[in-house]
């Protein structure tokens, strides 16, 4: 099986390798900026959930390299399809962070959704692996239209057990679409370890069955994630077909704000992985290259903090959506007659009190978030 590609060392026993061709100094800073913005969003979202200002939230803390690194390898015309674990990826492409926060606050319509064609970012996909065929369809359509666009889609190790993963891989290889299957192998699907998802040695080896390359990369290394994604996209654009990337890492955080990993795993293992997390690692690497210093890093962090603070203000400025939102945009061709009747019925009685996000559990391990403080 292929080795795990790693570029950034740890400043101790693991050496740094050469920065890959195609990344200038300003790219490295931009990439770091993306990592920090994603990290800031994630940490703020967890705090908002704890304060009862958004609902249950799926964390991605530690997986920023798989997101920002891969996205930085994409051209503007390439499409990306996130799962909920990459819920904020759109903010690196122009989607308003307040829109993503509003989605987690339980808002729909124009508040919580975006037009995928505006930034070539698919909607947040909740059901596992079902967005993979969409990425194949987009890249297939681009091929039919003789366009240059490729599509990249992220999913987890658990998703490789789903039929849609296999059907998407198979369609992509049969029709030689320019699709990048980016699997974030964080080794946990809520409480289910990778050993219960599969008996295969690696996820990358599943590519063999579909006649496409399967590569492994350090999922905590943004430069390595960039490199394998860039190679896969170039191959796809040259007519070489799809690639499966396995980004090997670890889910450092709980699955979501309602999850308590102490119930099912040894958290001392988590601490070991946490030392490899990508934001600190990239920051140290840039310092070793003397591209980054305290002043510059502080500036980048302050900028991210303000962007997300503004997003929180924007989210909270959204008025509770009216009842008509239930029936908006269900049909592009217009509202069926029964929608008007439903609205009349809704309007004939007093409106229920505004639904607020639920607060945190009363104690660690309390489980469902139904218990508020």
């Amino acid at each position: 099986m292929s080795e795990i590609l790693r570029i950034i060392g740890n400043g101790e026993d693991l050496d740094d390798r050469e920065v890959p061709d195609g990344l200038a100094e300003k790219d490295l800073v931009e990439l770091f900026r993306g990592l920090v913005l994603l990290r800031t969003f994630d940490e703020r979202a967890v705090a908002l959930q704890r304060q009862g200002r958004i609902g249950t939230y799926a964390l991605y803390w530690g997986e920023e390299a798989t997101q920002a690194g891969a996205l930085y390898a994409c051209e503007d015309g390439d499409w990306v399809f996130p799962s909920y674990r990459q819920n904020a990826i759109g903010i690196l492409r122009g989607v308003a962070p307040s829109t993503v926060l509003a989605w987690w606050r339980g808002y729909g319509g124009t508040h919580g959704f975006w037009n995928p064609r505006d930034h070539r970012v698919g909607p947040i996909c909740v059901p596992i692996a079902t967005h993979l065929p969409h990425a194949v369809g987009v890249s297939w359509a681009a091929k039919i239209r003789k366009d240059r666009a490729s599509a990249l889609t992220w999913f987890g190790d658990g998703a490789t057990s789903e039929g849609d993963f296999h059907e998407a891989m198979n369609f992509a290889s049969v029709f030689k679409t320019s699709t990048v299957f980016f699997c974030v192998n964080n080794q946990w699907a809520i409480s289910t370890p990778i050993s219960r998802q599969m008996a295969s040695e690696t996820i990358a080896q599943k590519a063999v069955a579909y006649g496409m390359p399967g590569v492994r990369v350090d999922g905590f290394d943004p430069l390595a994630c960039w490199k394998v994604t860039r190679d896969a996209l170039e191959r796809g654009r040259d007519g070489g077909g799809p690639t499966l990337i396995e980004a090997y890492c670890y889910r450092i955080m709980p699955h979501g704000t309602a999850d308590d990993p102490r119930l099912y795993r040894d958290e001392s293992e988590t601490e070991r992985w946490k030392k490899l997390e990508p934001v600190g690692r990239m920051g140290s690497f840039l310092r070793r290259l003397t591209i980054l210093d305290d002043t510059k890093e502080e500036e980048i962090r302050a900028e991210a903090k303000e962007t997300i603070a503004q997003a929180v203000r924007d989210m909270e400025a959204i008025a509770h959506p009216g009842q008509e939102i239930l029936f908006e945009h269900v049909y592009r061709s217009g509202r069926p007659w029964n929608f008007d009747e439903a609205l009349d019925e809704l309007g004939s009685v007093e409106r229920p009190a505004e639904v607020k996000p639920l607060g945190p559990p009363t104690s660690p391990g309390a489980g469902a978030e139904g218990k508020t403080q």
């Binding site: 079902t130 359509a141 592009r332």
Partner: protein, 342 residues
């Protein structure tokens, strides 16, 4: 064998009419693509897509791997990119592996994208029994889709409507489940007009996907049906006329979601008695919805409760018993008599 005359060639059965509609839609708009199992080289197991490959090429007419979630899912991706995919599901029950893609994505894409990016796909499903097929080639799953907000569900019963409705479904921005009654695919031929148009001239464009059709006029009993049972209802109506002197008004629903509520309540109120006929199972079927609409809106115009003649709440049988399961002219006649005798 003699060559058909030009005049004869304009007459088409439902397969040929659908085929003509697909040719017309693909010629009119190069974003239209056709995907499915065996749709290209063989032209589909029922030959509905015959000739498309030769005319439009292998990029637009595609034999896919045997995987319905993959077919529907990639079609959704194509629609997101801007194409207009038409998917063939080979037989009714084969749609179940694709159901998740239909229910959680096709039906919700417009809603999930501020109405900007509907999944503009047509999913054609040859459905229903009466053709002596092995297990799971005879289901009528339309109610599953009617119960899935975001979809339109239509079902023609004549060649002329089939052609007009497939063209309209492809033009419609919303995802359309296009139920094709395979039992009457080749049941009869009809003269097709120059342009795709509904048999009753009722509306144009997307109106083709929202109106019911009066298939027979009458004053005594309104009978509602769609798809393969419409010809049976018309036969039963003739028998009601001959034997009982009862004139049934027959409404071909044509569109199952959204239902043509005015046509339904108008016909029921006019006759004062109503019956719904379909071959899908009874519970929570289209008949239940039509019956409720009538009772909610025009109950005071009724002389009797709305009756139903349907398939049963049992698995579609092995075909040796399918005629016991399917609504027959006798069962429709008996069901009508029950409503009339109330």
């Amino acid at each position: 064998m003699t060559e058909p005359s030009v005049a004869l060639a304009t007459k088409a059965n439902m397969v040929e009419a659908l085929n003509r509609g697909l040719h017309e839609a693909m010629a009119a708009d190069d974003r239209v693509v056709v995907l499915g199992e065996d749709v290209a080289k063989t032209g589909g197991v029922f030959r509905v897509t015959a000739g498309l490959l030769d005319r439009f090429g292998e990029e637009r007419v595609v034999d896919t791997p045997l995987a319905e979630a993959g077919i529907v899912g990639t079609a959704i991706g194509m629609a997101v990119y801007g194409l207009l995919p038409v998917v063939e599901i080979q037989f009714d029950s084969f749609v179940y592996p694709g159901f998740e893609q239909i229910a959680v994505h096709a039906a919700r894409y417009a809603w999930r994208t501020k109405g900007e990016v509907p999944a503009s796909i047509v999913i054609r499903i040859p459905y229903g029994g009466g053709v002596r097929m092995p297990e799971l080639h005879s289901d009528s799953p339309e109610a599953l889709f009617v119960h899935t907000p975001g979809l339109k569900v239509v079902c023609p019963s004549t060649p002329q409507d089939a052609r007009a409705m497939i063209v309209a479904a492809i033009q419609d921005p919303d995802p359309v489940i296009f139920m094709e009654p395979k039992r009457i695919y080749r049941a009869g031929r009809q003269e097709l007009p120059d342009e795709p148009a509904l048999g009753d001239g009722n509306g144009t464009g997307t109106k083709h996907l929202s109106t019911a059709r009066r298939a027979r006029e009458g004053d005594d009993l309104a009978i509602f049906s769609y798809g393969a049972t419409v010809p049976l209802v018309l036969d039963a109506a003739e028998r009601l006329s001959l034997e009982l002197g009862v004139e049934a008004l027959v409404v071909d629903l044509r569109t199952l979601y959204p239902l043509d509520v005015e046509a339904i309540t108008g016909a029921a109120a006019h006759c004062g008695r109503a019956l719904v006929v379909h071959e899908a199972p009874r519970s929570a079927g289209i008949g239940a919805e039509v019956s409720s609409l009538i009772h909610e809106r025009v109950m005071l115009d009724l002389e009797a409760p709305v009756g139903r003649v349907t398939g049963y709440d049992a698995p579609f049988p092995q075909f040796a018993n399918e005629d016991d399961y399917l609504p027959s002219v006798d069962r429709i006649f008996a069901g009508a008599k029950k409503v009339l005798d109330f």
